[in-house]
């Protein structure tokens, strides 16, 4: 019963862990380079959730300085994650650009086929 309670009250952390592991699994298990990048993106996204979960107060609003509001969520994690999202997007973009170039050079984006081509040459 206690475990269930932990699960229900901390469900966001379990989602974080699930996304993280799922992303990592895709990166490791898939041979398609674009799918790998999607996995990588998922993996990074899980971290956003980790930070945001910690910054959220139940019932808290945005940090607007006004007597009408008493509880604020911590804005710092949000700012940090904004930065992390930018980093994530640029990594993803660069990764996709590389995949385009790889496709031009090898004619495929499947890792095993690419390795076979280079070993043959």
């Amino acid at each position: 019963m206690d475990q269930l309670k932990v699960f229900v009250t901390h469900y966001n952390y379990f989602i974080t862990i699930f996304l993280m592991v799922a992303g990592l699994y895709i990166v490791i298990a898939r041979g398609n380079m674009i799918k790998k990048l999607i996995g990588l993106s998922l993996f990074q996204t899980s971290v956003y959730l980790l930070y945001l979960s910690a910054g959220k107060i139940v019932g808290g609003t945005a940090p607007i300085y006004d007597p009408a509001f008493k509880f604020y969520s911590n804005p710092l994690p949000h700012v940090l994650i904004l930065t992390a999202i930018v980093v994530g997007v640029s990594t993803f973009a660069l990764g996709l650009a590389l995949v385009v170039r790889i496709h031009e050079a090898y004619g495929t984006v499947e890792e095993d086929e690419i390795f076979a081509k280079d070993d043959g040459a």
Binding site: L50, L80, L98, R101
Partner: protein, 504 residues
């Protein structure tokens, strides 16, 4: 008089200038779009930086105080702070000096290997990478360090992808995957630390970690694990090194030269910084589970990567495997968890950077002349390119750890560190691993000096003066650092003592 006035006016802003100059330079390089002009601008910036960091190192050593710079005048735990203490000044100076010394080599090498319309972009990436690495070293904020880590990584991926062979793209892609996983694990670790301490400033985390640890030690230990694994990926610590050999082998020569000496070193710095000054103040490093893991992985890397180097047919890949093996020494020194070991590790950061940069410079010169670094094509080059290859031999001897070279000094301190612990097996392992490095360097030397010139080597001759100069500066530094250790051990020893002093 004017000069002195300007200097005293600018001096308080040195810490930010170290990052700002290359960052602005990158912007201008991207706008100029003229290869030679970009090179000139890059060289100017690259030569100003070691002056700045050298002055800071001098200041820190003389006064024994830390230089602090508050960005936008926001006080320490609230704003981002740049801090220069002995450790960061040492690594800053190393990176900037390497970054400057190799600049004369850059122009012809880059002009030869990279299409003219991409050269400016290459210098842009070089400066961005430099800014990132220096930022990692100077910042006192954990999340800021992540941002700089990604700045340097993203620009590195681009530099690697500019290599001539199509495998460069693949190497870059693999590094992108591994590097991003590493950086993300690091952010997870920082996030956990932030959750338990409520701070991102290294010193502030350190001071709050004690109470947080007492309340709940799980997240702190998890953070330690995430950060160590994440940074180990960036360090290319065995078995997380698989990206490195391909990345170094297929990147343009100049990129390899730069990365081999600096990129992994900045990651090592960040690991030392976190292990000793952040975690170390609450959890004595000796009692951290991390120490033994680092020791074991360092040892494994020293041997397995060195064996891989022995059987390698591509000289650049051979040296890349050797880099993994040498990173093993550095991590071993950290894992020894005593002052001698850490002194050895920090001094080896300097010495290995000097030697490996020289070796890759020589291979860069070979690429410039014969366009290949396959071991078979290198035969007889010793007689065709004597100036290049004598310098290569000197740096190679340093790598083997022959007395009278820089490599010997650091191995000596590592052995001392192991002896203090009474771990004879590790002493034996260090000697044995050095013997393996004699084997793979010996193999390449044999090809270079004792064989008839190959077809490719037949017409080769020494590269122009501009390319030889950096090579000889670093080769002579290998010998110089073998006799006068004030610049390596002399700086590293007090830093190592201070790092352990923070713990007691």
């Amino acid at each position: 008089m004017m000069g002195a006035d300007v200097l005293s006016a600018v001096k308080p802003h040195f810490p930010i200038l170290v990052v700002l100059l290359p960052l602005l330079g990158a912007l201008f390089c991207a706008l100029i779009q003229r290869g030679t002009l970009s090179w000139l601008l890059t060289a100017c910036i690259a030569f100003v930086l070691p002056v700045i960091s050298g002055l800071m190192l001098f200041d820190v050593l003389k006064t024994g105080q830390t230089i602090t710079y508050e960005l936008g005048n926001w006080e320490a735990p609230f704003g981002i702070v740049y801090k220069v203490d002995g450790l960061s000044a040492l690594v800053l100076t190393l990176i900037t000096v390497i970054g400057a010394v190799i600049m004369p080599f850059a122009r012809r090498s880059v002009a030869y290997e990279i299409d003219s319309h991409l050269q400016s972009w290459f210098y842009t990436m070089y400066l961005l990478c430099l800014a990132g690495l220096l930022g990692i070293t100077i910042t006192g904020d954990a999340f800021n360090a992540f941002v700089f880590l990604e700045i340097s990584s993203l620009s590195t991926y681009v530099m690697i992808a500019l290599g001539k062979h199509r495998r460069a793209l693949l190497a870059s892609y693999q590094y992108l995957i591994m590097g991003t996983i590493g950086a993300t694990l690091y952010v997870v670790g920082i996030g956990l630390l932030y959750v338990v301490t409520g701070s991102l400033n290294f010193d502030d985390i350190a001071s709050r970690l004690g109470p947080a640890m007492a309340e709940r030690s799980g997240p702190v230990m998890a953070a330690l694990g995430f950060i160590t694994v994440g940074l180990s990926l960036k360090i290319a610590l065995f078995p997380m090194h698989v990206w490195l050999p391909n990345a170094y082998a297929y990147a343009p020569s100049f990129a390899t030269v730069f990365l081999a000496g600096t990129a992994t070193k900045a990651a090592i710095y960040l690991l030392v910084r976190l292990l000793f000054t952040v975690f170390g103040t609450t959890v004595p490093f000796e009692s951290m589970p991390v120490g033994h893991v680092l020791l074991a992985l360092g040892l494994a890397g020293m041997f397995i990567a060195a064996f891989a180097a022995v059987f390698e047919e591509n000289a650049k890949r051979m040296l890349a495997y050797s880099s993994v093996s040498q990173m093993g020494y550095i991590v071993l020194g950290i894992g020894l968890a005593n002052v001698s070991g850490l002194t050895g590790a920090l001094a080896h950061i300097v010495n290995h950077a000097v030697m490996k940069t020289a070796l890759f410079l020589a291979l860069g010169a070979v690429v410039y002349r014969i366009g290949t670094v396959r071991l078979g094509d290198l035969s007889g080059l010793g007689r065709k390119m004597p100036w290049t290859m004598v310098a290569f031999a000197i740096a190679g001897m340093g790598l083997m750890g022959i007395p009278g070279t820089a490599g010997f000094i650091t191995k000596w301190y590592l052995v001392l560190g192991a002896l203090e612990k009474g771990w004879w097996v590790i002493v034996f392992a260090i000697v044995l691993s050095s013997l393996i490095s004699v084997v793979y360097m010996g193999r390449i030397m044999e090809v270079l000096w004792f064989r008839e010139p190959s077809q490719a080597a037949e017409k080769a001759k020494d590269p122009p003066m501009m390319m030889l100069l950096p090579l000889w500066v670093l080769a002579l530094a290998t010998i110089y650092l073998g006799f006068d250790t004030r610049l390596s051990v002399g700086v590293a020893a007090p830093v190592a003592e201070a790092l352990f002093g923070g713990i007691k």
